[in-house]
């Protein structure tokens, strides 16, 4: 190969390298930007007066005097809407029966749309569920609901060969000639005055418990549950893993059993997490009975088993990477084997061991499958430290899945789901960052 081709090969290799880094960065951007953008929307958003009413009633937060003045001003505009409704109801009574029935059906749709927008209307019974006690708390949702109120969605089925196409009909036209036709332009113009949208910074999203299955409130029980599970898993797996790694590297004699154990460990690292979940259910809950029901402790133990192989492998590598001269120097000074391990080898290997630990910690925080059957519930309040032995907990990973698939009103509370995703990503990132900082400090100490 002459120098020319070599140079070209060299350059193209560099180009491929840079290219792949750019692709990776772009992919990361595509994944991370929507997560961050939508997730931040759970904390920073344009909240309406309904949101402030909810905060006052459920968490007694906010300036009640200012709120009551706001409510009074919004009620001034709402009163006109209610007036129009009662006016139309009176008009309905005077109509011919068949015309009345026709309008009644349309009118009940309008009422439903209005309830979604402004909360219960006068004359409605007081709802039991918090989700029906308030109108739209977020302005962007209110705008969607306004569209639902102004336009009726219909499906065009004129062509029998294909499925229908959606089109929108102005509801006002349906009420032409009645007193209600004035309602639609009025609401369209005055919605802002009725809902008083205002930039809102809702820190409570992180520190509050959820209200009415995640409709309002925050995700603190989930965040706390995630911490409990991840840290609990670490408490079991980290010491066990390091001890096992010491055994493998320092004490085990090479032989059939040893190599079997090692390959078993490597295989275990690749087992799908749901298998660990089923194992945890069968072993920790049904056989060992570590707790009466699902519990944090059962979940933490299951996660611990899942991350154990990774910790063992990482610790082994780190211990093997300690230069032989360290060991020889220590032994030559008359130190015992155990003393050498504890005072020379482990401290030197600590940065590497910690890296493995933290990667596993992130994984434990993010895994869903192992905790479905052992620890996670979809709704529950925050638990105390004393409850980890008896009580299950909501956790971010499971609740994200639950909100994405099972929740009865998943489409209405997407912002909560995004908020949870951002919280989980942030937690994992923070854990990793703290490990990097810790690692750097320890390395510095070792050098100095």
């Amino acid at each position: 190969m002459n120098i020319g081709t070599r140079k070209i090969l060299d350059r193209s290799f560099t180009a491929v390298g840079i290219g792949s880094i750019i692709v990776m960065a772009l992919a990361l951007m595509i994944v991370v930007v929507p997560i961050v953008y939508n997730g931040i929307g759970a904390v920073f958003f344009t909240g309406t007066v309904e949101h402030r009413k909810m905060l006052q009633a459920e968490f007694s937060r906010g300036d009640s005097q200012y709120l009551s003045s706001e409510v009074a001003s919004s009620n001034r505009y709402r009163a006109k809407v209610y007036e129009m409704l009662t006016g139309f109801e009176a008009e309905l009574e005077t109509m011919a029966p068949e015309k009345k029935a026709e309008y009644q059906a349309k009118y009940s749709q309008v009422r439903t749309a209005l309830q979604a927008l402004l909360g219960p209307l006068p004359g409605d019974p007081e709802p039991m569920l918090t989700r029906f006690k308030y109108g739209q708390t977020r302005w962007e949702k209110a705008e969607e609901k306004l569209h639902d109120l102004l336009y009726e969605s219909k499906w065009d089925n004129t062509n029998p060969d294909v499925m229908g196409k959606e089109y929108f009909v102005n509801r006002a036209i349906g009420f032409e000639g009645t007193s209600l036709s004035r309602l639609f332009p009025y609401i369209n113009e005055n919605l802002e005055k009725m809902l008083l949208p205002e930039f809102t910074l809702y820190w409570g999203f992180i520190t509050d418990s959820s209200v009415d299955s995640h409709f309002f409130g925050g995700i603190w029980p989930e965040i706390q549950g995630t911490f409990f599970l991840a840290i609990g898993a670490m408490l079991f797996a980290f010491p066990l893993g390091v001890v096992a790694a010491v055994y493998f590297t320092e004490y085990a004699r090479p032989g059939f059993l040893n190599s079997m154990l090692r390959s078993a460990n490597s295989t275990l690292a690749g087992v799908p997490s749901i298998v660990f979940g089923m194992f945890g259910l069968a072993f920790f809950i049904n056989t060992m009975k570590v707790s009466e029901s699902k519990s944090v402790i059962a979940g933490a133990l299951t996660l611990a088993i899942m991350i154990l192989p990774t910790i063992i492998r990482a610790s082994e590598e780190a211990i093997l990477a300690v230069p032989k001269t360290y060991r020889e120097a220590s032994l030559s000074l008359g130190s015992t084997k155990w003393n050498t391990i504890a005072t020379v080898i482990l401290p030197a290997a600590l940065p590497g061991i910690l890296t493995g630990g933290v990667i596993s910690l992130g994984r434990a925080a993010g895994e869903t499958a192992p905790i479905i059957f052992t620890a996670a519930v979809s709704v529950g309040s925050a638990i105390g430290l004393a409850d980890v032995f008896s009580s299950p907990t909501p956790a971010l990973s499971w609740n994200i899945y639950n909100l994405a698939s099972e929740h009865e009103a998943a489409t209405q509370i997407r912002h909560v789901q995004y908020g949870m995703v951002l919280a989980l990503v942030t937690i994992v990132l923070l854990l990793n960052l703290s490990a990097i900082v810790l690692r750097a400090r320890i390395s510095k100490k070792l050098k100095g």
Binding site: P160, M163, S378, V379, D387, S405
Partner: protein, 269 residues
């Protein structure tokens, strides 16, 4: 110093919850259909009695298993326990007792753009058996029917078979399986030629409900019995309940409980 304080604050924030430590926890597991009712009742219950209730939704079959294994206090189910499950429970010394908390109509749902308004039980059976594969055969557009069913673990699936197609019928192999009411709803609302079934409480405007034998499901038609595809929703306990468990089981029969159930779109007793 500041760091230590921060650390202290961090741990204190976790310890705040310890005040509740002596409170008994009720653990509810089971049906995704009962899920919304169970969650809302739980929220109300915790507020009123200060007893913590943890709810998870993993399917009726899992609810039964959890009760048998003693890993939950109350199992929510959208079907009755099978003989095999009761036998397994007895073997473990668990005595499952059923409590009906609400009724639910099983709604056949299609995409809102689908012109089909009504299906007969026989037509639905044929669709799920795989003998009718095109919407044209039941008066719709010329499109292949995407059949959506629930997983074997689901009580809704069992009820559907029992009430509509007959227990012994083999559902076509091309049917797609979704694992929760919410997932079926999402799939149907995004697939123009899909058909699926949902608990009445899960129906919203993103899907269109088809009438069965000419009757549309609603709280009214389920209550007066004119809509036939209905089933009771159960809570199962181990033995006759007492204490907070009894309070919880009784909640659906109180005025407040009934209001909660009907607000969620289910039919109270």
């Amino acid at each position: 110093m500041i760091k230590k304080l921060l650390l202290l604050g961090f741990f204190l924030s976790f310890a705040v919850g310890t005040a509740y430590a002596d409170v008994k926890t009720l653990v509810l597991d089971g049906s995704t259909t009962v899920g919304p009712v169970a969650k809302s009742l739980a929220t109300y219950f915790t507020k009123k009695y200060g007893v913590r209730v943890m709810v998870s939704e993993s399917g009726s079959g899992n609810g039964a298993k959890s009760l048998i294994n003693g890993s939950c206090t109350i199992a929510a189910m959208s079907r009755t326990m099978k003989d095999a499950e009761i036998a397994a429970a007895r073997k473990k010394g668990v005595n499952p007792v059923a409590h009906v908390i609400a009724f639910d109509g099983l709604a056949m749902v299609v995409h809102p753009g689908n012109p089909v308004r009504s299906l007969s039980k026989a037509q639905i059976s044929s669709i799920y058996r795989g003998t009718i594969t095109n919407w044209k055969e039941v008066g719709g557009a010329n499109a292949r029917i995407v059949v959506i069913q629930r997983e074997s673990n689901s009580g809704t699936q069992e009820s559907f078979k029992e009430l509509v197609t007959g227990k012994s019928m083999q559902i076509t192999g091309s049917a797609e399986t979704q694992s929760s009411n919410g997932a079926v709803k999402t799939r149907v609302s995004t697939t123009p030629s899909a058909i699926g079934f949902l608990g009445l409480g899960f129906v919203d405007r993103s899907v269109k409900v088809s009438a069965v034998n000419g009757v549309l499901p609603s709280i009214k038609t389920v209550k007066n019995g004119s809509y036939k595809v209905t089933r009771p929703l159960y809570l199962y306990t181990n033995g006759q309940p007492s204490g907070p468990v009894k309070q919880f089981i009784d909640l659906p029969n109180t005025v407040e409980g009934k209001a909660i159930i009907s607000e969620l779109g289910f039919v109270n007793r």
